[in-house]
Amino acid sequence: MKVRFFELAVGVFVLLGIGALFYLAVQVSNVTDYHDRDTYTVTGYFDNIGGLKTRAPVTVSGVRIGRVADIRYDPERFRAEVTLAIRSEHDYLPMDTQAAIHTAGLLGEQYIALEPGGDYETLQDGDELMFTQSALVLENLIGRFMTNLGSD
Protein backbone atom coordinates (compact mmCIF):
# COMPACT_ATOMS: atom_id res chain seq x y z
CA MET A 1 0.00 0.00 0.00
CA LYS A 2 1.28 3.39 -0.92
CA VAL A 3 1.74 5.67 2.05
CA ARG A 4 0.33 9.07 1.35
CA PHE A 5 2.01 12.08 2.89
CA PHE A 6 -1.02 13.40 4.73
CA GLU A 7 -1.73 10.01 6.26
CA LEU A 8 1.78 9.92 7.65
CA ALA A 9 1.42 13.48 8.92
CA VAL A 10 -1.88 12.68 10.66
CA GLY A 11 -0.27 9.62 12.23
CA VAL A 12 2.57 11.74 13.59
CA PHE A 13 0.05 14.32 14.84
CA VAL A 14 -2.00 11.73 16.73
CA LEU A 15 1.15 10.22 18.23
CA LEU A 16 2.31 13.68 19.31
CA GLY A 17 -1.06 14.35 20.95
CA ILE A 18 -1.10 11.06 22.81
CA GLY A 19 2.54 11.58 23.74
CA ALA A 20 1.64 14.98 25.19
CA LEU A 21 -1.19 13.46 27.24
CA PHE A 22 1.20 10.77 28.45
CA TYR A 23 3.73 13.44 29.39
CA LEU A 24 1.04 15.32 31.33
CA ALA A 25 0.10 12.09 33.11
CA VAL A 26 3.59 10.98 34.09
CA GLN A 27 5.65 14.12 34.41
CA VAL A 28 3.08 16.74 35.38
CA SER A 29 0.47 14.95 37.46
CA ASN A 30 2.48 11.85 38.37
CA VAL A 31 -0.56 9.63 38.02
CA THR A 32 1.18 6.55 39.41
CA ASP A 33 1.95 8.27 42.68
CA TYR A 34 -1.67 8.68 43.68
CA HIS A 35 -2.58 5.08 43.14
CA ASP A 36 -0.07 3.64 45.53
CA ARG A 37 -0.48 0.02 44.66
CA ASP A 38 0.13 -1.92 47.84
CA THR A 39 -0.65 -0.08 51.01
CA TYR A 40 -1.74 -0.92 54.52
CA THR A 41 -3.85 1.41 56.63
CA VAL A 42 -3.29 2.63 60.13
CA THR A 43 -5.60 4.95 62.05
CA GLY A 44 -4.75 7.70 64.46
CA TYR A 45 -6.96 9.86 66.68
CA PHE A 46 -6.08 13.53 66.92
CA ASP A 47 -7.51 16.23 69.19
CA ASN A 48 -7.17 18.78 66.41
CA ILE A 49 -6.03 18.20 62.86
CA GLY A 50 -5.76 21.89 61.92
CA GLY A 51 -5.82 22.21 58.14
CA LEU A 52 -4.86 18.64 57.28
CA LYS A 53 -6.43 17.38 54.07
CA THR A 54 -6.80 13.97 52.47
CA ARG A 55 -3.90 13.04 50.16
CA ALA A 56 -1.50 14.95 52.40
CA PRO A 57 1.90 13.21 52.64
CA VAL A 58 2.87 10.88 55.47
CA THR A 59 6.58 11.02 56.17
CA VAL A 60 9.26 9.43 58.32
CA SER A 61 12.30 11.65 58.87
CA GLY A 62 11.01 13.71 55.94
CA VAL A 63 10.84 10.76 53.53
CA ARG A 64 7.42 10.25 52.00
CA ILE A 65 6.09 6.76 52.69
CA GLY A 66 2.33 7.18 52.22
CA ARG A 67 -0.59 9.54 52.29
CA VAL A 68 -3.67 10.48 54.30
CA ALA A 69 -6.48 8.32 52.94
CA ASP A 70 -9.43 9.54 54.96
CA ILE A 71 -10.36 12.07 57.63
CA ARG A 72 -13.56 11.85 59.67
CA TYR A 73 -14.88 12.83 63.06
CA ASP A 74 -15.46 10.07 65.60
CA PRO A 75 -18.51 11.07 67.65
CA GLU A 76 -17.81 8.49 70.38
CA ARG A 77 -14.28 9.55 71.16
CA PHE A 78 -14.85 13.22 70.28
CA ARG A 79 -11.68 13.21 68.26
CA ALA A 80 -10.72 13.31 64.59
CA GLU A 81 -10.05 9.91 63.07
CA VAL A 82 -7.32 10.02 60.42
CA THR A 83 -6.65 6.98 58.23
CA LEU A 84 -3.12 6.71 56.86
CA ALA A 85 -2.30 4.60 53.83
CA ILE A 86 1.33 3.52 54.08
CA ARG A 87 3.14 1.66 51.31
CA SER A 88 3.62 -2.00 52.11
CA GLU A 89 7.39 -1.98 51.77
CA HIS A 90 7.53 0.25 54.86
CA ASP A 91 6.43 -2.51 57.25
CA TYR A 92 9.09 -1.87 59.87
CA LEU A 93 7.32 0.84 61.93
CA PRO A 94 7.22 -0.08 65.66
CA MET A 95 3.90 -0.27 67.51
CA ASP A 96 4.66 2.82 69.58
CA THR A 97 5.31 5.06 66.59
CA GLN A 98 4.23 8.61 67.27
CA ALA A 99 2.30 10.69 64.69
CA ALA A 100 2.43 14.47 64.63
CA ILE A 101 0.84 16.98 62.30
CA HIS A 102 3.48 19.37 61.02
CA THR A 103 3.39 22.30 58.64
CA ALA A 104 5.77 22.59 55.70
CA GLY A 105 7.14 26.09 56.10
CA LEU A 106 5.33 28.75 58.09
CA LEU A 107 2.13 28.81 56.03
CA GLY A 108 2.62 25.73 53.90
CA GLU A 109 0.75 22.50 53.47
CA GLN A 110 0.23 20.28 56.52
CA TYR A 111 1.50 16.73 56.62
CA ILE A 112 1.87 13.87 59.06
CA ALA A 113 5.31 13.12 60.41
CA LEU A 114 5.82 9.71 61.99
CA GLU A 115 8.49 9.16 64.61
CA PRO A 116 9.36 5.51 65.20
CA GLY A 117 9.43 4.32 68.80
CA GLY A 118 11.34 1.39 70.29
CA ASP A 119 8.81 -1.45 70.36
CA TYR A 120 9.77 -4.81 68.84
CA GLU A 121 6.31 -5.39 67.39
CA THR A 122 5.52 -3.58 64.15
CA LEU A 123 2.36 -1.85 62.97
CA GLN A 124 0.02 -4.04 60.94
CA ASP A 125 -2.95 -3.28 58.72
CA GLY A 126 -5.83 -1.81 60.77
CA ASP A 127 -3.75 -0.97 63.84
CA GLU A 128 -4.20 2.21 65.81
CA LEU A 129 -1.42 4.66 66.58
CA MET A 130 -0.88 4.98 70.32
CA PHE A 131 0.61 8.46 70.46
CA THR A 132 -0.55 11.43 68.42
CA GLN A 133 0.26 15.08 68.57
CA SER A 134 -2.22 17.71 67.34
CA ALA A 135 -1.60 20.36 64.77
CA LEU A 136 -0.26 23.65 65.97
CA VAL A 137 -3.08 26.16 65.69
CA LEU A 138 -1.62 29.61 65.38
CA GLU A 139 -4.68 31.36 66.82
CA ASN A 140 -4.56 29.28 70.03
CA LEU A 141 -0.89 30.00 70.40
CA ILE A 142 -1.42 33.74 70.03
CA GLY A 143 -4.40 33.59 72.39
CA ARG A 144 -2.32 31.86 75.06
CA PHE A 145 0.46 34.36 74.58
CA MET A 146 -1.97 37.27 75.02
CA THR A 147 -3.46 35.88 78.26
CA ASN A 148 0.04 35.29 79.62
CA LEU A 149 0.88 38.90 78.86
CA GLY A 150 -2.27 40.05 80.67
CA SER A 151 -1.56 38.08 83.88
CA ASP A 152 1.88 39.57 84.37
Binding site: V12, F13, L16, A20, L21, Q27, S29, V31, Y34
Partner: protein, 260 residues
Protein backbone atom coordinates in the same frame (compact mmCIF):
# COMPACT_ATOMS: atom_id res chain seq x y z
CA UNK B 1 -43.11 53.01 19.16
CA UNK B 2 -44.80 50.04 17.53
CA UNK B 3 -42.01 50.00 14.95
CA UNK B 4 -39.37 49.77 17.64
CA UNK B 5 -41.11 46.88 19.38
CA UNK B 6 -41.69 45.15 16.06
CA UNK B 7 -38.02 45.46 15.10
CA UNK B 8 -37.02 44.01 18.48
CA UNK B 9 -39.39 41.12 17.80
CA UNK B 10 -37.97 40.65 14.31
CA UNK B 11 -34.39 40.55 15.62
CA UNK B 12 -35.36 37.99 18.27
CA UNK B 13 -37.17 35.80 15.75
CA UNK B 14 -34.24 35.98 13.32
CA UNK B 15 -31.81 35.02 16.06
CA UNK B 16 -34.01 32.09 17.06
CA UNK B 17 -34.31 31.00 13.43
CA UNK B 18 -30.51 30.91 13.15
CA UNK B 19 -30.28 28.88 16.37
CA UNK B 20 -32.91 26.48 15.06
CA UNK B 21 -31.14 26.10 11.72
CA UNK B 22 -27.84 25.50 13.49
CA UNK B 23 -29.41 22.81 15.63
CA UNK B 24 -31.14 21.07 12.72
CA UNK B 25 -27.85 21.27 10.82
CA UNK B 26 -26.01 19.66 13.75
CA UNK B 27 -28.58 16.87 13.95
CA UNK B 28 -28.26 16.16 10.24
CA UNK B 29 -24.47 16.10 10.50
CA UNK B 30 -24.64 13.75 13.50
CA UNK B 31 -27.08 11.52 11.61
CA UNK B 32 -24.56 11.08 8.79
CA UNK B 33 -21.59 10.23 10.99
CA UNK B 34 -21.46 6.65 9.68
CA UNK B 35 -19.47 7.97 6.71
CA UNK B 36 -16.57 8.57 9.09
CA UNK B 37 -16.19 4.84 9.63
CA UNK B 38 -17.05 3.85 6.07
CA UNK B 39 -14.70 6.24 4.34
CA UNK B 40 -12.11 7.09 6.93
CA UNK B 41 -9.82 8.65 4.32
CA UNK B 42 -12.10 11.67 4.01
CA UNK B 43 -11.85 12.41 7.73
CA UNK B 44 -8.12 11.75 7.70
CA UNK B 45 -7.59 14.36 5.01
CA UNK B 46 -9.52 16.86 7.12
CA UNK B 47 -7.57 16.02 10.28
CA UNK B 48 -4.52 16.87 8.24
CA UNK B 49 -5.78 20.27 7.13
CA UNK B 50 -7.43 21.17 10.46
CA UNK B 51 -5.11 19.56 13.00
CA UNK B 52 -1.68 18.93 11.55
CA UNK B 53 -1.45 22.31 9.90
CA UNK B 54 -2.39 24.05 13.18
CA UNK B 55 0.47 22.26 14.90
CA UNK B 56 3.13 24.90 14.34
CA UNK B 57 1.11 27.82 15.72
CA UNK B 58 0.03 25.71 18.71
CA UNK B 59 3.56 24.60 19.57
CA UNK B 60 5.06 28.08 19.18
CA UNK B 61 2.33 29.81 21.20
CA UNK B 62 2.41 27.07 23.84
CA UNK B 63 6.13 27.55 24.26
CA UNK B 64 5.83 31.31 24.61
CA UNK B 65 2.81 31.21 26.93
CA UNK B 66 4.70 28.76 29.15
CA UNK B 67 7.80 30.95 29.16
CA UNK B 68 5.79 34.07 30.07
CA UNK B 69 4.05 32.13 32.85
CA UNK B 70 7.48 31.10 34.10
CA UNK B 71 8.63 34.74 34.24
CA UNK B 72 5.50 36.23 35.76
CA UNK B 73 4.99 33.39 38.20
CA UNK B 74 8.58 33.67 39.36
CA UNK B 75 8.39 37.46 39.84
CA UNK B 76 5.29 37.11 42.04
CA UNK B 77 6.34 33.99 43.93
CA UNK B 78 9.84 35.13 44.75
CA UNK B 79 8.33 37.92 46.91
CA UNK B 80 6.90 35.25 49.19
CA UNK B 81 10.04 33.17 49.11
CA UNK B 82 8.07 30.48 47.31
CA UNK B 83 9.86 30.39 43.97
CA UNK B 84 9.94 26.58 44.28
CA UNK B 85 6.16 26.56 43.77
CA UNK B 86 6.67 27.80 40.19
CA UNK B 87 6.19 24.35 38.65
CA UNK B 88 2.78 24.00 40.25
CA UNK B 89 1.67 27.46 39.16
CA UNK B 90 2.74 26.90 35.56
CA UNK B 91 1.26 23.40 35.30
CA UNK B 92 -2.07 24.22 36.93
CA UNK B 93 -2.71 27.37 34.90
CA UNK B 94 -1.82 25.58 31.67
CA UNK B 95 -3.61 22.31 32.25
CA UNK B 96 -6.78 23.79 33.71
CA UNK B 97 -7.28 27.01 31.78
CA UNK B 98 -4.76 28.29 29.31
CA UNK B 99 -4.21 25.03 27.45
CA UNK B 100 -7.84 24.43 26.45
CA UNK B 101 -8.89 28.09 26.12
CA UNK B 102 -5.95 29.54 24.20
CA UNK B 103 -5.84 26.47 21.97
CA UNK B 104 -9.55 26.87 21.23
CA UNK B 105 -9.12 30.57 20.41
CA UNK B 106 -6.17 29.87 18.12
CA UNK B 107 -8.04 26.94 16.64
CA UNK B 108 -11.04 29.17 15.87
CA UNK B 109 -8.77 31.69 14.18
CA UNK B 110 -6.56 29.25 12.33
CA UNK B 111 -8.80 26.31 11.43
CA UNK B 112 -12.33 27.61 12.03
CA UNK B 113 -12.02 30.57 9.69
CA UNK B 114 -10.48 28.35 7.00
CA UNK B 115 -13.36 25.88 7.31
CA UNK B 116 -15.97 28.62 7.01
CA UNK B 117 -14.29 30.25 4.02
CA UNK B 118 -13.90 26.93 2.24
CA UNK B 119 -17.52 25.88 2.78
CA UNK B 120 -18.82 29.37 2.01
CA UNK B 121 -17.00 29.36 -1.32
CA UNK B 122 -18.31 25.87 -2.07
CA UNK B 123 -21.80 27.17 -1.47
CA UNK B 124 -21.24 30.36 -3.50
CA UNK B 125 -19.88 28.47 -6.49
CA UNK B 126 -22.80 26.03 -6.15
CA UNK B 127 -20.61 23.02 -5.59
CA UNK B 128 -22.92 21.86 -2.83
CA UNK B 129 -25.97 22.06 -5.12
CA UNK B 130 -24.02 20.28 -7.86
CA UNK B 131 -23.29 17.45 -5.43
CA UNK B 132 -26.95 17.13 -4.55
CA UNK B 133 -27.73 17.01 -8.31
CA UNK B 134 -25.39 14.04 -8.55
CA UNK B 135 -27.15 12.39 -5.60
CA UNK B 136 -24.11 12.89 -3.36
CA UNK B 137 -25.19 13.89 0.11
CA UNK B 138 -23.07 16.93 1.07
CA UNK B 139 -23.72 16.26 4.75
CA UNK B 140 -21.91 12.95 4.47
CA UNK B 141 -19.33 13.90 1.88
CA UNK B 142 -18.43 17.40 3.13
CA UNK B 143 -19.78 18.37 6.55
CA UNK B 144 -19.50 15.23 8.70
CA UNK B 145 -15.78 14.55 8.02
CA UNK B 146 -14.87 18.18 8.75
CA UNK B 147 -16.91 18.15 11.92
CA UNK B 148 -15.31 14.97 13.25
CA UNK B 149 -11.83 16.17 12.27
CA UNK B 150 -12.20 19.36 14.29
CA UNK B 151 -13.71 17.49 17.20
CA UNK B 152 -10.81 15.00 17.28
CA UNK B 153 -8.02 17.49 16.73
CA UNK B 154 -8.84 19.96 19.52
CA UNK B 155 -8.06 17.74 22.56
CA UNK B 156 -4.82 16.59 20.96
CA UNK B 157 -3.79 20.16 20.17
CA UNK B 158 -4.67 21.30 23.70
CA UNK B 159 -2.62 18.48 25.22
CA UNK B 160 0.35 19.40 23.03
CA UNK B 161 -0.08 23.06 24.01
CA UNK B 162 0.00 22.25 27.73
CA UNK B 163 2.95 19.88 27.45
CA UNK B 164 4.99 22.37 25.42
CA UNK B 165 3.99 25.13 27.84
CA UNK B 166 5.29 23.14 30.81
CA UNK B 167 8.60 22.79 28.98
CA UNK B 168 8.59 26.51 28.22
CA UNK B 169 8.10 27.26 31.91
CA UNK B 170 10.97 24.89 32.64
CA UNK B 171 13.27 26.66 30.20
CA UNK B 172 12.65 30.05 31.81
CA UNK B 173 12.21 28.98 35.44
CA UNK B 174 15.02 26.46 35.68
CA UNK B 175 17.24 27.53 32.83
CA UNK B 176 17.20 31.31 33.19
CA UNK B 177 15.95 32.12 36.69
CA UNK B 178 17.61 29.30 38.59
CA UNK B 179 14.69 27.49 40.21
CA UNK B 180 15.77 24.02 41.27
CA UNK B 181 14.96 21.47 38.58
CA UNK B 182 13.82 18.79 41.02
CA UNK B 183 11.65 21.25 42.95
CA UNK B 184 10.01 22.43 39.72
CA UNK B 185 8.74 18.96 38.86
CA UNK B 186 8.11 17.63 42.36
CA UNK B 187 6.02 20.70 43.23
CA UNK B 188 4.16 20.28 39.95
CA UNK B 189 3.43 16.64 40.67
CA UNK B 190 2.25 17.29 44.20
CA UNK B 191 -0.33 19.92 43.22
CA UNK B 192 -1.54 18.58 39.87
CA UNK B 193 -4.02 15.75 39.99
CA UNK B 194 -4.71 13.53 37.01
CA UNK B 195 -8.49 13.30 37.42
CA UNK B 196 -9.21 16.70 38.83
CA UNK B 197 -6.90 18.86 36.76
CA UNK B 198 -5.66 17.09 33.63
CA UNK B 199 -8.90 15.30 32.80
CA UNK B 200 -11.04 18.40 33.40
CA UNK B 201 -8.78 20.20 30.96
CA UNK B 202 -9.24 17.43 28.42
CA UNK B 203 -13.03 17.54 28.86
CA UNK B 204 -12.95 21.29 28.37
CA UNK B 205 -10.97 20.97 25.17
CA UNK B 206 -13.39 18.33 23.84
CA UNK B 207 -16.34 20.66 24.49
CA UNK B 208 -14.52 23.59 22.88
CA UNK B 209 -13.57 21.49 19.86
CA UNK B 210 -17.20 20.50 19.41
CA UNK B 211 -18.52 24.06 19.71
CA UNK B 212 -15.87 25.75 17.56
CA UNK B 213 -16.19 23.22 14.75
CA UNK B 214 -19.97 23.35 14.89
CA UNK B 215 -19.95 27.14 14.61
CA UNK B 216 -17.34 27.14 11.83
CA UNK B 217 -19.04 24.51 9.68
CA UNK B 218 -22.49 25.99 10.22
CA UNK B 219 -21.35 29.51 9.35
CA UNK B 220 -19.94 28.21 6.10
CA UNK B 221 -23.16 26.34 5.37
CA UNK B 222 -25.29 29.34 6.30
CA UNK B 223 -23.21 32.00 4.49
CA UNK B 224 -24.80 34.39 2.01
CA UNK B 225 -23.62 33.15 -1.39
CA UNK B 226 -21.73 36.34 -2.22
CA UNK B 227 -18.14 37.38 -1.70
CA UNK B 228 -19.32 39.80 0.99
CA UNK B 229 -21.32 37.02 2.62
CA UNK B 230 -18.26 34.77 2.86
CA UNK B 231 -16.21 37.51 4.45
CA UNK B 232 -19.00 38.20 6.95
CA UNK B 233 -19.41 34.51 7.75
CA UNK B 234 -15.67 34.10 8.33
CA UNK B 235 -15.60 37.07 10.69
CA UNK B 236 -18.69 35.74 12.45
CA UNK B 237 -17.01 32.37 12.98
CA UNK B 238 -14.02 33.84 14.75
CA UNK B 239 -16.09 36.29 16.84
CA UNK B 240 -18.89 33.91 17.82
CA UNK B 241 -16.58 30.94 18.41
CA UNK B 242 -14.23 33.00 20.61
CA UNK B 243 -17.10 34.38 22.67
CA UNK B 244 -18.67 30.94 22.97
CA UNK B 245 -15.37 29.45 24.16
CA UNK B 246 -14.84 32.14 26.79
CA UNK B 247 -18.43 31.96 28.02
CA UNK B 248 -18.46 28.18 28.13
CA UNK B 249 -15.12 28.17 29.92
CA UNK B 250 -16.65 30.21 32.74
CA UNK B 251 -19.56 27.80 33.05
CA UNK B 252 -17.38 24.68 32.84
CA UNK B 253 -14.92 26.06 35.39
CA UNK B 254 -17.83 26.78 37.73
CA UNK B 255 -19.13 23.24 37.31
CA UNK B 256 -15.76 21.52 37.67
CA UNK B 257 -13.95 23.53 40.31
CA UNK B 258 -16.66 25.65 41.90
CA UNK B 259 -18.31 23.23 44.29
CA UNK B 260 -15.07 21.65 45.53
Amino acid sequence: MTDAIASLGRTTINALVVFGRAFVFLMRVLASLDIVIRRFGLTLAQVYSVGVRSLLIIIVSGLFVGMVLGYQGYITLVNFGAAEALGGVVALSLVRELGPVVTALLFAGRAGSALTAELGLMKTTEQLSAMEMMAVNPYRRIFAPRFVAGFLSMPLLAAIFSAVGVMGGYIVGVGLLGVDSGAYFSQMQSVTDWNEDVLSGVIKSIVFGFVVTWIAVFQGFNAQPTSEGISRATTQTVVVASLAVLGLDFILTGLMFGAG
